[in-house]
């Protein structure tokens, strides 16, 4: 498992931007992705993972890897009641696992598109957020990413979220404090 960038300028730039945004990132081979993501969640003290219903999640065997770490696994849509899906009941240390449609290297942004398998609230209702990102989905600029998301002839998704780092508020004394409403931590697993 490689944790350092290996020469792809877009990957390097994304990792650098994620650090600036107070998020973290790592680069892994496809065969190691499930185990790496599960390990990160175990280290962060995650009790339950809510996984996007996406073929990539199955391909990397994430659910099994998480269970081996003793982490409870749910897949979107979870069927949980409103209070539990908002973290008011059940375990507090929940991690939303997303599969971004794209990422913006310059800004450290992941682009999440809502769909049947990918809820709008998946990352933001959870305390932690892990994004599983195939390296070939990284583009340099926000303009390129949005041009792809809203390309002519493609139906605009009902909701798109550009996420650039953990939730943050500077409303008290203008000093940045993490975990205001959304996730306190964000980790991007770059798969190449």
């Amino acid at each position: 498992m490689s944790t350092a960038a290996v020469g792809d300028p877009l990957v390097d730039l994304l990792l650098e931007s994620l650090t600036r945004r107070k998020a973290t990132g790592q680069v892994v081979q496809p065969g190691d992705a499930g185990r790496a993501a599960a390990r990160w969640m175990a280290d962060a003290g995650v009790a339950r993972a809510v996984l996007a219903g996406d073929p990539l999640v199955d391909r990397i065997g994430l659910a099994d890897a998480l269970r081996r770490e003793g982490i409870d696994v749910l897949t979107w849509p979870t069927g949980l009641g409103k209070r539990e899906s908002m973290g008011l009941e059940g375990p507090i240390d929940v991690c939303g696992v997303t599969v971004p449609a794209r990422a913006v290297a310059e800004r450290g942004t992941v682009v999440l598109e809502a769909s049947a398998g990918h809820g709008r609230g998946l990352d933001v209702t959870s305390r932690h957020h892990v994004a599983l990102l195939p390296a070939d989905r990284i583009v340099r600029t926000l303009g390129e990413a949005l041009a792809l998301t809203y390309a002519d002839g493609r139906a605009a998704p009902s909701a798109v979220s550009l996420v650039s780092g953990p939730s943050r508020s500077s409303d008290i004394e203008k000093i940045s404090t993490l975990g205001a409403h959304g996730a306190l931590t964000e980790h991007v697993v770059i798969i190449r």
Partner: protein, 471 residues
Amino acid sequence: MSTRRRRADGGVAYLDVQGTLRERTVDALRDRTLRGNLDTAATSWGESRDAMREGYGLDDMRERAREIRRSNIRNLPALLAEMQANVREAGGTVVRAADGAEACRYITGLARARGVKVVAKSKSMATEEIKLNEALQDAGIEVVETDLGEWILQLANEHPSHIIAPAVHLNREQVAALFREEAGTDEVPDDREGLVAHARVRLREKFAEAGIGVSGVNLGVASTGTVCVVENEGNARLVTSQPRIHVAVMGMERVVADWDEAAHILQVLPMAAIGQDAANYVNLITGPRREGESDGPEEFHLVIIDGGRGALRGTEFEEALSCIRCGACLYSCPMWRSVGGQAYGSPYSGPIGAVITPLLEGPSSPASRDLPFMSSLCGACGEACPVGIPLQDLLVRARARSSSPATRASGLAFRAWSRLWRRPGTYRAWMAGWRLMLRARGKDGWATDLPGPGAGWTQVRDMPTKWPPRR
């Protein structure tokens, strides 16, 4: 809950402000805590902002931003028609409201019709302008502001002080006291992390209860009918995804043509507003949830407000419509930095507020007539504006618009004074007389109480009787 009153005439300025603009300014200047808090905020903004200018060429990005916004305003009717058609195509409802009262009627009517008891809001200047909270509360509906700063102010029963950083005038101790009062317990931490975590849990409870989420709109993208809601906390995503109904309230000038333009403005906005190269969350919403999706609102309503904006197109104030509400002109303004936003008595404070509040209210409104004079015309606002609005010029025009025309007597007096000072002989005689008067009235080298035209000066500072002055 709020005891703020609502005005029936759809005006912009707050109705519950106390005293005159001058009195509020003097009060604010005397408030040392406020001065300290504003200084901290403006200084930290200035530093991050300088980093953006050096590292990202923000000054170069401004030219394109200005062109985009000017062209948006020129093509406004067509863009709005396209926006409206595309939102409907995506399954949303669009309402055009001529003024705030009409918008409030629609939203309270919707809440009543759907039996909604609690409305969760994310930060929105447009709803502050139309006084939506007061309208909903009058209808017996609970409104909860979920942006941390806005919630703090709701607890304090105060108006926002800044477009982006509403509670910038309060410090940590003041916030902790408000949270203790709201929670009815002393068990509230007083460190920043603890306060933020406390608010997170209290507000999640409200999200779980709310039947309607109300958000503002930073940009509407006409080509796809998408609204962009920019934020850092994540509350706007919760507001737009958790309640069964999402109502987005947009000023009619907020629309851009396509995603190429939107990408540029979405990058300029956080750089100018908070000195960051991206906001943490940008929520791009195209209609309600689709078939098969298991979260997101079942209904999406876009309320587009005119509120006096349309009438500004084609006038000498048209460029004010380019504003993207970043708040940069506030932080850069020496007036705002000294007194904060509350003295202005309007949701829109600082240079842009001093221009648009009286424009949206109409020239005769006593609540905002004097606002264009809250400026030294130093031009820092125009320099800070990321879309190149010549704010200092607009302030001068706004002054001309709100001043009464010169009377015959004042015209004669100025002509006489001008004649006196243009001739060396009479000028010297005037100055000799002035020096004599200063010496007669002054004490220990300083005059503290001058008559006539000098009174305005000595009301706020002393005048030396000789030069250089005695220390």
